[in-house]
Symmetry: C2
Subunit: 454 residues, 2 copies
């Protein structure tokens, strides 16, 4: 069967339930712990921070399929299904026998896959009768997505934006404002934790961990608000399974079998969503597909972090999660462009990695932008820096196929577009982009502050 | 039949030929004239400025269908077919019985429909063995599109960018650079005409007409270069007919009959392309669909201009075109955001308008951004300011249907996204956006300089 350039599913083929990979995991991801008691967080405890339905999803390691409410399915129809693209031009340019596909999640105004979970979280907040939600955003993709979702359901949206991104990405801020969100640079003096961090580090550029602390405080101290998070959590990976489910349906429709699936990994939401049904097959012994996580060399939680319980945030107000982590005080060097700057990794992805089900690689920034520019010129799409980590490894694997003559099928997640990352592209175009790899001492220092579990 | 949120055609349903509306026009658009002799431009004359095949297309008023070369069809497959979207959410929010559809051309990195013609023009330049092409760009959509197209075919690309856009849109410039183009703010001292304009108006913000003059000079004074233009010309409308052809195929597939088709109009490329097959039906007496052009109140060539021969550029180096024009020295007020700032209008659109086949309206900037924000929040897509002119009128027409209870089918062209127009959105969000309508005296002044035809 001839494969079109872009495979679009019919509306009737779109997923009607999310896939909960945890149900198929023999080694379940470790539970979130209450940092005070050292015991697993209960539904009641989680419900003080998260919407109740989302707290239920966070705790559910058993139900394999969770129905997608009709309102969310309808919203998905506005920008999904996303295309699975056959990269014919890239294959030709590389002269590789490999077949390359990418699942492109950038065709929505938030510019990335983040909207898949944002709309779900806003829906459950609305159902619960909340006034609004609080969150943090780094590169701004998640904040934009949440602003769109909240605007759709008429919810208030308070975004704490990592200070350096707030300054470097004023356009992101304006998109959020256009959707009616309030955006505060973090750390700010609007929260106790923010004031404390500012007192200790007055010149800080901010970090995701710090913005999370502020957003959580704003949620628990405002009546009718809950906190929502765009990555890391198991509930987020659940919602993002829509990426993998659509990908698998599209591939099955054309009889395509993947040999390698590649995703960039910051907190793990895109990777976890893309690989979900394929990792499920692997767990059930039905497939031996290779799954590769690609992270920045400047923030290498999987490849150089430790698998341990750690705080999810800098202010240490969140539950503890067992994950591959660089330590909650780890902050990537300011020359690091784009997202993928979280100190830890989704518990699900961490457990899969620890069990040897997925591989991990790190990529340096300039090599990533080389791949980004190459891809943009050949395939027409200007990719986000985050997504370009996956492009880098996909190109590397396709070049290996050229050398060995193997006709492998390579699939990667193209999570978003780079329209708001032009300062980084400018720095690359001007030959001024640099790499930064943390030293062993840097990492040892932040890891030395891991919490002691009682 | 249930209409999906988004109608995508199969690759096999995509157009294989462009539709040349001129073939069905009883009153043909007036020919381009040589400003020196006052006689119609010959193929030889046109070929000194344009690629020969494009010059042929420019002159061809007879051939109804012109095959799309396979290489262009293949490129189209990378980002086309574009979706025809049923605006279910907008209809619901407006409480209108109208059925609203939009053809969304923004899902490619250039962010607009301009790529449809850019790739065609680059292809013919490559076929002719040229080294490269020169062009102008205002808001930057055309320059970005042409950079992408030239990068694909390995052509050099010299872009003259209207100075105020160059300064206000550094990100557009970086996208063009990422695709390997050189970008010069216009007027510049790299051309004779630029130096002359700078000498006369040292503080000018530049204009499209001026940038065209520079690009034409750069083309004719560099061996192996030709000039390409992103709008106005009949060849461009020919290429853009792909928009209307896809729209019509999608509507026919679902048995949808349009009552009103709306497009924004600057030079007329999007409007002319979108309405082409429908205007053809109208010309053949097969349809009475209403066709509405929407232009900015600050640059109202159709609604307040004169139908006369005029220069296409400020420097008066180009052929004369008969068109609705405000005079080639007309420059919209600097507070005008976005594109749609050309002093004239496509000859084809002008003739159709003069013959009463299309209607025209103008919209003020703040009313346009109100519609843009409303649309963004309801339909999820952040529209380009240009496209939002069409949204404004589509919403107005849908509200009329709410009042009369008529279940009309309204189709509009959503030509692009607003990711590079966030300064304008910021100005709107901050309540600082203003309107500007030129006075009768302003227009009379620039019209007083229309050329005398010998």
């Amino acid at each position: 069967m001839e494969i079109p350039y872009k495979i679009y599913l019919e509306e009737s083929e779109m997923p009607k339930a999310w896939y909960n990979l945890r149900a198929d995991m023999k080694n379940k991801p470790a539970p979130l712990l209450n940092p005070g008691t050292g015991k697993p967080m209960t539904l009641e405890e989680l419900s003080q921070v998260f919407c109740r339905e989302l707290a239920l999803q966070e705790l559910d390691c058993e139900t394999p399929y969770i129905p997608i409410p009709q309102e969310i399915q309808d919203f998905y129809k506005m920008y999904r299904p996303s295309p699975l693209v056959r990269a014919y031009c890239l294959e030709k340019k590389l002269g590789t026998p490999a077949h390359i596909y990418y699942k492109f999640e950038g065709n929505n105004t938030s510019g990335s896959h983040k909207l898949n979970s944002a709309i779900a979280q806003a829906y459950y907040a609305k159902q619960q009768g909340l006034k609004g939600v609080t969150t943090e955003t780094g590169a701004g993709q998640w904040g934009t997505a949440l602003s769109m979702a909240c605007s759709y359901f008429g919810l208030d949206c308070k975004v704490f934006m990592v200070k350096i991104s707030y300054e470097q990405k004023p356009f992101r801020r304006e998109v959020m404002r256009t959707y009616g969100a309030s955006v505060t640079p973090s750390p700010s003096n609007t929260t106790q934790v923010g004031r404390k961090i500012l007192a200790e580090f007055p010149d800080t550029n901010g970090s995701l961990g710090c913005a999370i602390s502020e957003a959580v405080e704003a949620a628990v101290s405002n009546e009718g608000y809950r906190y929502v998070l765009g990555s890391v959590l198991s509930q987020v990976l659940l919602h993002q399974s829509v990426i993998g489910l659509e990908t698998k349906t599209a591939m099955d429709k054309y009889g395509i079998k993947p040999d390698i699936i590649i995703g960039c990994a910051g907190g793990g939401s895109n990777l976890g969503g893309l690989i979900a049904p394929f990792a499920g097959q692997k767990l059930r012994g039905e497939s031996d597909v290779r799954l590769i996580a690609v992270e920045p060399a400047s923030c290498p939680s999987l490849t150089r972090g430790k698998y341990a319980y750690d705080f999810c945030d800098t202010g240490c107000v969140c539950p503890l999660a067992k994950m591959y982590t660089l330590g909650s005080s780890f902050i990537p060097s300011p020359n690091h462009a784009g997202g993928l700057r979280y100190h830890g990794m989704s518990s699900i992805v961490s457990q899969l990695y620890d069990d040897g089900l997925i591989e991990a690689r790190s990529a340096e920034q300039t090599a990533v932008f080389e791949a980004a520019e190459y891809f943009a010129r050949v395939e027409g799409i200007l990719p986000a820096p985050e997504s370009s980590h996956a492009i880098r490894v996909a190109i590397d694997e396709a070049i290996k196929c050229r050398e060995t003559g193997e006709e492998k099928t390579i699939v990667f997640g193209l999570t978003g577009t780079g329209y708001f990352d032009l300062y980084a592209y400018q720095s690359f175009n001007d030959g001024k982009m640099t790499d930064y790899i943390p030293t062993d001492e840097d990492i040892a220092k932040s890891l030395s502050k891991l919490p002691q579990i009682k």
